[in-house]
Symmetry: C2
Subunit: 201 residues, 2 copies
């Protein structure tokens, strides 16, 4: 059976960077935006649209207490994207040892007992990291004012929490659902990755 490491992460905490370094150190495959690209390819939807769907819980058009099932009332594209995401995550987890960032992979693969990491940091540290490094997912992070960055961080993390909780029924970032929760405030991610890789092995 493959060894799987999943990374949940607050926006601006360096979780993606940490995941990438751990994958490099251990020689594992690394999946993050690759999943979006693959969903887009399989569904013929644009990457931007898929990315948006996989970062927000769906807007249900009418109350859930109808006689129809929960799944049936989800907007069509949400269903299609979620099903493809499940399929792709299952496929890659069977291919080889891997690190998967976000996408509720910890929950989707719960039967495979992945090593579940959650990465977080203090707000000031997130702002500093965003200003210094930018963020590949949010191209213009570095051009935002500190106030705008604060709003963006809060908004992205609220969306991630909502999405995770909608699809898993679990509280995003609640340590009970993770094996290791790492506060990256003032951390050297490279040094940290070496030690964390040792724990995951």
């Amino acid at each position: 059976m493959s060894k799987i490491i999943t990374i949940g992460r607050e926006f601006g905490s360096g979780g993606r960077e940490l995941g990438g370094r751990i994958a490099e150190i251990l020689g594992y495959a690394y999946y993050d935006r690759e999943i979006i690209i693959e969903i887009a390819k399989r569904t013929s939807l644009s990457e931007t649209y898929v990315k948006n769907i996989t970062e927000h819980k769906p807007v249900i058009p009418f109350p859930l207490h109808t006689s129809r099932t929960f799944w049936a009332v989800m907007p069509d594209f949400d269903q299609v994207v979620q099903k493809e995401q499940h399929n792709i995550i299952r496929e890659i987890s069977q291919k080889s040892d891997c690190v998967i960032v976000g996408r509720c992979a910890d929950y989707i693969l719960r039967d495979e007992k992945p090593f579940r990491i959650f990465v977080y940091s203090e707000l000031e540290s997130k702002i500093k990291r965003c200003i210094e490094k930018g963020n590949a997912d949010y191209e213009n992070s570095e051009s935002l004012s500190e106030k705008e960055l604060k709003q963006k961080i809060a908004q992205v993390n609220r969306a991630r929490a909502g999405y995770y909780e909608f699809y898993t029924g679990q509280k995003w970032g609640d340590k009970a659902y993770y094996d290791l929760c790492i506060n990256t405030t003032n951390c050297d991610i490279n040094k940290l990755a070496e030690a964390v890789a040792k724990i995951c092995q």
Copy 2:
């Protein structure tokens, strides 16, 4: 300035064992029950009595909204023990690099920026650990039935949470107050300690 590692831990999670191993690996001093013994020596109270006080929040005999200060309404022995505990923790933190288990040391030493670890695990794992290893603080753990152990674990952890929250105003085990939260379910503490020591260095 000394390097300080503090360990908060759920009862039965192996936190003390982990702290001890980390101290051994790093060559740091290790403090746990040594603090109780020292408080007992300085206050002439019995170790059992001191231990009990440092594991339960005090019972305040009348409401806090009097004109007297919070500190003034605390029972006398609680005040004496808490003050000695503060003094001793500050003293040992200045002596040498150290690992301190429990006793709100993370909060008391917050200005020294200790590396703050919280150790937790799933209930089944706690029960298994208590049955296999017993617990030096609760001598008869191994002779309890599974049901009694469950009750004991819940009771000790409730008391620890209450004590911590009373003296720090922070939520015990809330990852925001720690640098690393470690789930020891199914973990080999020795192997884990090697990697965690690397993170703390």
